[in-house]
Symmetry: D2
């Protein structure tokens, strides 16, 4: 039996959540170091994706590295926060060139630090880059600014990889990098070799994609740098625990990755607003483990044969049999 994948999580999973109603937060503030300790408590995490700047901003990098090691963790990525108040009218696409510059420099600083921390990639999630109202924006200009900023960053840090996490909307009503296909088109226009995609399963799901298909399209162009998993009700980025709603499609998603020989980290991006953060991570990993076991017993050959006939009933039966049999711990 092959080795289990490595599991990871966005460090924000262990931080304080707010929203526009519970403005005082779903729980007390959490420092970056405290969040690392919580991640360590999960017991099965190997890597974390860390928001930058740290909380507090003057957190010592060596102390952070040590704290990661003490918890058996590694920083797989940094996520520069180009979506806070300063950037609320846009990061890369802010109408103010000074703010755009600030966004690029913040990412560049994060890139320097990512290099020092030995990260696999810098994550770009330009959540404030897009538009809210019909007629508000010159869309071609927004597109161009988005592409130019990422290209500049990729060229300034040719030794690093930048992973764009696309998302249909939120916080902006519409985001520039909103789908796998749009992001691939943008990457084509950038003409740099070190920009790829982080596919968030939930974003894909509520963006009307079939996540497994979107993954396949990105893999075919060799641009799948990372993945995040979670779940939702297909209307919004609910960031629920993996598999709590869409077990079948989550299974299909990981099957696609496995068939392509992709061996990156299986990473959580959950927002357990009202749940214990450590237990929620354990629950997500528990589901991913079940899926991993299901992949071991999945009759891949029979499935491929059914798919060659586009036989939905047979394909579903084969998949369900593996999924529901995964608890038995069988191997083929």
């Amino acid at each position: 039996m092959p080795d289990e994948p490595l599991y990871g999580a966005g460090l924000w999973h262990f931080g304080q959540f707010r929203d526009r109603y519970a403005t005082d937060g779903y729980g007390p503030p959490v420092t970056t170091l405290e969040a690392i300790d919580r991640a360590g408590q999960v017991g099965d995490l190997s890597v974390v994706d860390i928001n930058y700047p740290f909380n507090p901003a003057d957190t010592d990098v060596d102390a952070l590295q040590q704290r990661l090691r003490a918890n058996g963790l590694r920083a797989i990525a940094l996520t520069p926060e180009i979506y806070t108040r300063t950037f609320c009218r846009g990061g890369f696409t802010n109408p103010d060139p000074g703010i755009r510059r600030q966004a690029i420099e913040l990412v560049s600083d994060a890139a320097d630090l990512a290099r020092r921390l030995g990260c696999d990639y810098v994550k770009l999630w330009p959540g404030q880059d897009g538009w809210d109202y019909p007629f508000q924006a010159d869309y071609r200009e927004i597109w161009k600014l988005s592409i130019d900023a990422v290209r500049e960053l990729a060229q300034r840090h040719p030794d690093l990889r930048f992973a764009i996490e696309y998302k249909p909307r939120e916080p902006r009503n519409r985001m520039t990098f909103s789908s796998a296909a749009r992001t691939l088109l943008a990457i084509d226009e950038m003409e740099v070799p070190n920009v790829g995609i982080l596919l968030d399963f939930g974003h894909s799901l509520y963006g009307l994609e079939s996540p497994a298909e979107a993954a396949g399209m990105i893999l075919a162009r060799d641009k799948l740098y990372a993945i995040d998993v979670n779940d939702n009700f297909r209307g919004w980025d609910d960031d629920m625990v993996v598999g709590s709603v869409h077990l079948v499609e989550t299974f299909e998603f990981f099957h696609t990755l496995q068939q392509a020989g992709w061996n990156g980290v299986w990473q959580l991006d959950q927002f357990p607003f009202r749940e214990d953060h450590v237990e929620a991570a354990r629950a997500g990993i528990d589901v991913m483990r079940t899926i991993w076991r299901a992949l071991q017993i999945l009759d891949v050959k029979a499935l491929a044969e059914a798919q060659s006939r586009q036989d939905a009933l047979a394909a579903q039966r084969i998949a369900r049999s593996a999924l529901l049999g995964a608890e038995r711990g069988e191997t083929r």
Copy 2:
């Protein structure tokens, strides 16, 4: 020509917005008194719906009353904040009976103050009452707790009116009072005379209702205590400026109110995250004024005749003609 309606706004329209990304807020903090001043600057607002507790909590009530008067405003309602950290796992339906009691008492305190301020109603928006995950809740228990709490409040304050603002979801993935019909069923079960509904146009729209139809159903049972208007893209409560997307259905909504002889306040519930708060309110009022003028020139008789034949083309033509002619300031 009849008098124009009174215009109002939720006071939060002029406060600080946060969300789960811009956790430092879309702009600096705003006190309740400062927000009142901003509301006053709009120039056309007569009433405001005020969050309770005030910000800061020890704001003097007399000072507040005076500040309202100084700005030509009146408190039409108080909205007790039963959705902050304390209540994040539920207000009326929290699994902890102590928190449930706290939620009821907070509303009761707000009711006492609403009486003192001469408000028209106390608004109930139990945004944390519902569920997030399949299997999480005993739905009948959640339903019963929601109803019992509102009934208790209505009975303790028989001289006041309580308006439930229903909403499909957010912050909970699913809310108890999620639609006009569900809320009417709940009110039936309460068997008290002083509970009604605040219909938020946007909530109705993204909840798959036809807002004008929902208003008609509530009006037929004499339970329409208040309305809020705004706009969205039908997938989420975007709280955009009135009429920025759905001019036609907003017009139909106000037409229904007018035909029923409803003469309450035309009230804004917009969240101008990235816009000037005062200008956004003026924009909303500007659109409502256009609609009000359109109502004056709408050929109500021809419309009713077209509707008796369910003639969509004729009805739309009549409505559009009034809407697009409203700028001319004609009267019939």
Copy 3:
């Protein structure tokens, strides 16, 4: 171990499907008698819900009864087709009173026949009753006509039960009986004892309800006459095979029925446009059997305890454990 439920299906599951593109049908025409034979081939169906008029309309009733018996089937219900060309601008709510009368009489004829066939209920699915455009309809009139028609039918046939199948939309853009709560309000207004609800899982799902919760609300009022199951992607009534997308929520739905002691038929309403009709029914039954087994091993007490704390993680773990363990055929 308790007895397995009876399984049933809408007979249309075995007929010819059309849509607005494949206007020549997804396969050749199928008579009512042929469809009964196909239903018989499934092997596990006990009852069918039959469209009326039959195809062809002059199908002999005795021959039909015999054909049912020969296939081990019974007619659980008739579904009068009040949504074909004659009724395309409305059945109960058609602007033409003559057509409204025709719709009522067609249902009344179906009721007479249902009595003769020993059906459990007459199904009402007024799919053409609603509206398409803003401003098109006098909503209160549409509501009244819908209620009056059903009341009249219930009063003319006091010995029979009428089950309204609600649905958010399709073929009308918006339907009158669009949700559980709206239909319960309508039934209240009818003031007759023999009108209830057929809850279609898929309609509930894409209507933004939690199907288990909707079932609970209907059960609490003793109005759940029947259920249909299928699956979809939450945006439309895709009528896919049961459990192909939403295994967890389908399980929750049946758990709610079982806890309430509801012991009606587990009935399929699938549209296998491109699949073998008999095999698709078998697939649906196979999933329902898995769920039935999962119900036997579900730790109901632990689940209730978790729900009393609204503990999503624990409740999901308990449910998932039963679902994924169902293949082992364990009993508690």
Copy 4:
């Protein structure tokens, strides 16, 4: 003042509609020649897009050409019906290579005829090409088959243009060419110069795109061969009359086309199931005319200035002023 655009319509607008409930059709059958006469009655149509094969299939081409001329019409395009029963499990992507070949040959025949009729393009709408169920398909194979088929057709008919009409779903639960970006990626892979896009406003709208933005992206790559307009409630392809719901975004869409100097036909793709076909077309043209007038008075310079600041309130005010002033027939 510049000339008004030419108006067009899909000829199906004037045919018989069916769906899965009114299987006997929303009205009687209509031949191709009869539909042409109805299109002629509209009075303002210059071109039609005609389904192929004709109804009946042996309709004489010269007779058809003459009938078009007699009605003042020209065939702007042919739409080969690669979505009827034969192709219900896929046209270009059918698991049966024989059916795939049939689909390609049907389109090729249509191309030959389009050449003879002097059409501007052949429309490709592979509505049955996609998938329904998770796990059903080898997505990469579906993608490849879709691209190979279109490339072959483009190479066999290098003198003609082929316009792909993308659509998120229906009749398939998920379609291959589902968005502007995906279709552009596919066209890139085809490496032929004569394949472009027909953008259907409604498809874009319910596919979570901003239609004006999608148009801009296609225009930037010089691939906008044609457009269709209609309206919907953002959840499904309702094919309602233009502007009946989304006046503002329809206006923005045409503004984008005008600013880009695009001067193609403004074409209707409405399905007036329950309305008079001719009157519904007139209604659509009436709205388009209003929008055209609004474009003449739109303060383009002020709008561009507002957009350069991404000032939603100003941009909306400028746009609304033109839209609501369009009835006055002013010019700038």
